[in-house]
């Protein structure tokens, strides 16, 4: 398996506060890498750095053999290769579900409208949201909004997905419909990078789990190693607290 994404010695600081330090990892094609860690450990920032929404302070990010952290890299072009989904959905409230999905294919990828609509309807149909195509986001449940947001990122045919705590704003009943969609994408062979608090889900979907703590990767490995027999005391501590909160 070839590596799609390689991150080497990434560093990111906001002013004097160091958020990410010495982050290095590889994401092979068709695999899912899950980042766990408490709030403020740098998970979201890491995903935003990879998508070039944040400027990194040091290190190299390589996508398909090309350095995307280079100054001359075409930012808009790089972003089309990632499908990013946010905790707060961030659908465009003034556009219908269909328009949300077709906006970027039409304007960023230059697909003609008819084809973009066809593809969007196929995706909506596949994920059981066909009857919501003409609805506006505020008429949908949180779970439906998040599924639309995932479909919106899929419509760009991304090389990989970046999923940033996509279930954190949902109530437990709605979490499942979103996670089963992600599981389906995983079994289709989609490469993905996730930040999540759902440990059960991490165990099911992850090929590799990374534990982030204070901006560093403290421990990484197979999900059963990290989630069931962690070596570092910080990891044990984190998992115990998650377990106490009832999310395991």
């Amino acid at each position: 398996m070839s590596d799609i994404l390689i991150v080497e010695r990434l560093r990111k600081a906001f002013g004097s506060e160091i958020v990410l330090e010495d982050i290095s990892f590889r994401v092979p094609e068709h695999t899912a890498t899950v980042f766990i860690g408490s709030s403020g450990s740098g998970k979201s920032t890491l995903l935003r750095c990879i998508n070039l929404l944040e400027q990194i302070d040091d290190g190299v990010i390589t996508l398909d053999g090309q350095e995307i952290s280079a100054v001359e890299a075409d930012v808009d072009d790089v972003r089309k290769k990632f499908g990013m989904v946010f905790q707060s959905f961030n659908l465009f409230p003034h556009k219908s579900v269909l328009e949300n999905i077709t906006l970027a294919p039409i304007h960023a990828r230059g697909v003609d409208r008819e084809q973009a609509v066809d593809e969007a309807m196929d995706l909506l149909n596949r994920f059981g949201l066909k009857d919501k195509a003409e609805q506006y986001p505020d008429r949908l449940s949180g779970g439906q909004q998040q599924r639309v947001a995932i479909i919106r990122s899929l419509a760009l045919h991304p090389r990989m997905l970046l999923l940033d705590e996509i279930t954190s704003a949902l109530d437990p009943v709605l979490v499942n419909e979103v996670l089963s969609l992600v599981r389906e994408l995983k079994s289709d062979g989609m490469t993905m990078l996730l930040a999540t608090h759902e440990m059960g889900f991490a165990k099911q979907v992850a090929d590799e789990v990374c534990f982030l703590h204070g901006g560093r990767i403290l421990e990484w490995g197979r999900p059963e190693e990290i989630l069931e027999a962690p070596k570092r005391s910080e990891t044990q501590d984190f998992l115990r607290r998650v377990h106490e909160a009832g999310r395991l």
């Binding site: 935003r48 998508n51 929404l53 808009d76 072009d77 972003r79 089309k80 990632f82 990013m84 946010f86 707060s88 961030n90 659908l91 465009f92 409230p93 003034h94 906006l103 970027a104 304007h107 960023a108 990828r109 986001p137 505020d138 008429r139 949908l140 909004q145 919106r152 990122s153 760009l156």
Partner: protein
């Protein structure tokens, strides 16, 4: 089937599956509410009658009322001058339409320049900021005088001396500064996550602005912009100082001929006949916009 809820409150036990009938308790509550509403309406009517009635009595019994009503409310004379004032008001309407359109285009342009981050636009951003600071801070009457009398004094070739054009120009200069700031504040209220979502989909800065930020921002600032439109209609009356025969000027001419001030009152009524409906419309738009935002917040 039922559940005993105590009985003391007069609430009958629930009858699951039965058809709902207001309980005696609810009926008593509705009765009490009706009684209270009736009492409130009575109080409101009495207090209004008292306050407005006394104001009217003070007005009508004042020693100068008779002469005042003759100078300001000579309706027969008012009807006589109405056509001239209406004709003048046509100028105000035309001015409003032309100035309003120009202000919308220029205001949007300046707002976009001020919110852009492109290094190439830096000099324009500085100029736009200076412009807005200047013309939001100068009384419009002064701008009208400066433009109306200043530009012709330059005696430049090819520059018009037409007071109507110069007056419109002054109005446009002032209102563009106001409107640019309203639109800019609208752009700034759109949450950064919307931009992040659009940019992460590979849309460029301009595409993000055009398809995601501006449509939401403009919808949000529609009520304050309509408010500015009402103010613009009134303020077109200020160009009369340059000698433009608008409604205000027409009233002035009519009243100076007879020393009767009724034409001013007529002019005021003509302005109100347009601004009051527009204000009501603005209020309704604002209410709808708030409702829509609340609906989004609940989703």
């Amino acid at each position: 089937m039922g559940r005993d809820t105590g009985g003391e409150s007069g609430v009958t036990p629930y009858d699951f599956g039965g058809k709902w009938q207001p309980s005696p308790h609810e009926q008593a509550r509705r009765q009490a509410r009706k009684h209270k509403n009736r009492r409130n309406a009575l109080i409101a009517a009495l207090s209004s009658l008292l306050v407005i009635g006394s104001l009217l009595i003070i007005l009508f019994t004042s020693p100068g009322w008779k002469s005042l009503s003759e100078t300001f409310f000579a309706w027969a004379y008012g009807v006589e001058v109405l056509p001239k004032i209406l004709l003048g008001f046509g100028t105000n309407v035309v001015l409003t339409v032309i100035a309003g359109t120009s202000v919308a285009i220029l205001g949007l342009t300046i707002a976009l320049i001020r919110t852009s981050r492109s290094p190439a636009l830096t000099p324009f951003r500085i100029l736009a900021t200076i412009y807005v600071d200047l013309f939001r801070g100068i009384p419009m009457l002064l701008v009208i005088l400066l433009v109306g009398f200043g530009i012709p004094a330059l005696r430049l070739k090819g520059i018009t001396n037409n007071v109507l054009i110069l007056g419109t120009l002054a109005v446009v200069i002032t209102y563009t500064a106001y409107v640019a700031e309203v639109i800019r504040s609208g752009i700034l209220t759109i949450h950064p996550s919307q931009r992040a979502a659009a940019r992460s989909l590979g849309l460029t800065h301009f595409q993000t602005l055009r398809h995601v930020i501006l449509p939401q921002a403009l919808r949000r600032v529609t009520p304050p912009l309509l408010n500015d439109l009402v103010a613009l209609i009134k303020d077109t009356g200020l160009v009369s100082i340059l000698g433009v025969t608008d409604a205000v000027r027409a009233a002035q001419i009519a009243s100076s001929r007879t020393f009767n001030y009724t034409p001013y009152v007529i002019a005021a009524i003509v302005f109100l006949s347009v601004t009051i409906p527009l204000t009501r419309f603005t209020d309704r738009t604002l209410r709808k916009s708030i409702e829509r935002q609340n609906a989004q917040g609940n989703a």
